[in-house]
Symmetry: C2
Subunit: 194 residues, 2 copies
């Protein structure tokens, strides 16, 4: 990787962390510059604006990370148990800062979806991709599932509940609440089976 590319990646990584912690608007470019130990000129050489940087973080950091995570949870023999394991392991290995900061995508959806069209469309696309992953996984084992299930609806329900759980636990600052909701969610998911 060239030096320039390394600089760019460094900016992306730091920006992703800052946006995760403080949201997009509350993220200050000067903080990113300090953490990267670069000048404002360097940043604006690689990104045309703060917004462009935000989009790049979304596309090059959050999206791949996110999809990979869900994919690995769903491409198992039994996606129902795969999801439950995925959620349960989240509650276990969840650090304190992750409880506090929540899910980057959920955060951005909250903050930016009704403010900036660029973010909105990117988030929407991401959600649809994620939903498709779940739908595909459920369809694979549809023989084992209850009849009359609306897969897409179920997929959005799962994602909504998970996001709601992360938001909810921000106020209590501990995992307990999150774990409770997840436990109930796993119960719901397992009940999808015959």
């Amino acid at each position: 990787m060239s030096d320039a590319e390394q600089t760019r990646q460094n900016i992306l990584t730091v920006a992703a962390d800052e946006i995760h912690q403080h949201g997009f608007n509350a993220t200050s470019l000067s903080v990113i510059l300090n953490r990267c130990e670069i000048s404002k000129g360097a940043l604006y050489h690689h990104f045309t604006s703060k917004m462009a940087l935000g989009y790049a973080v979304f596309e090059e950091i959050y999206t791949p990370e996110f999809l990979e995570l869900w994919q690995s949870a769903l491409t198992v023999e039994d996606p129902v148990e795969g999801l439950c394991d995925f959620f349960t392991s989240m509650t276990e290995q969840m650090s304190c800062s992750e409880v506090v900061c929540g899910c980057p995508l959920n955060n951005l959806c909250e903050e930016m979806a009704n403010v900036d069209e660029g973010f909105r469309l990117r988030i929407l696309s991401m959600q649809e991709q994620l939903n498709q992953l779940i739908v595909d996984a459920l369809m694979k084992i549809s023989d084992d599932l209850r009849e009359g299930l609306a897969f897409s609806q179920v997929g959005y329900f799962i994602v909504a509940t998970l996001n709601g759980a992360t938001t909810l636990s921000k106020s209590s600052r501990n995992k307990e609440l999150f774990q409770q909701v997840i436990a109930e969610l796993c119960f719901y998911i397992r009940a999808l089976k015959k």
Copy 2:
């Protein structure tokens, strides 16, 4: 109501709307001043800081509105159907702006819970109150419900899913997604019964 009290109420109402639309940090005092047609001196006569105004909006506008709404949904003969009716009517009478702006309390939780302790504690208290409302309602009809249910867990699950649904639909800008999640949520709630 005295003129001064009227001014104060007007500030609260406008601020509540602005915070709902743009979040706390993105809400500009100057916008509030313009909409209220008052001076900065007037605002700072009634509130010591922007933060204090935010707290007042939370306590005097959001909290009572919120509790009243849920209370009326839960203090019916059958709270299970009461909740389902409540959610379903939400999807029906939901205006476009409400889809876009989401739930004020959920928004504040996302934005402020990990930034300001004052907001965090107020939100936490609110969530606990709401959960208690649900738990109480469920306990009243516990004879009709499945055995071994963790009421508190169920309560938080319902709230989490509802919040997640509002956040999710921000990106699609229409009710459809929200309705789907709500439909699935009602299915879950009804399945609490024997």
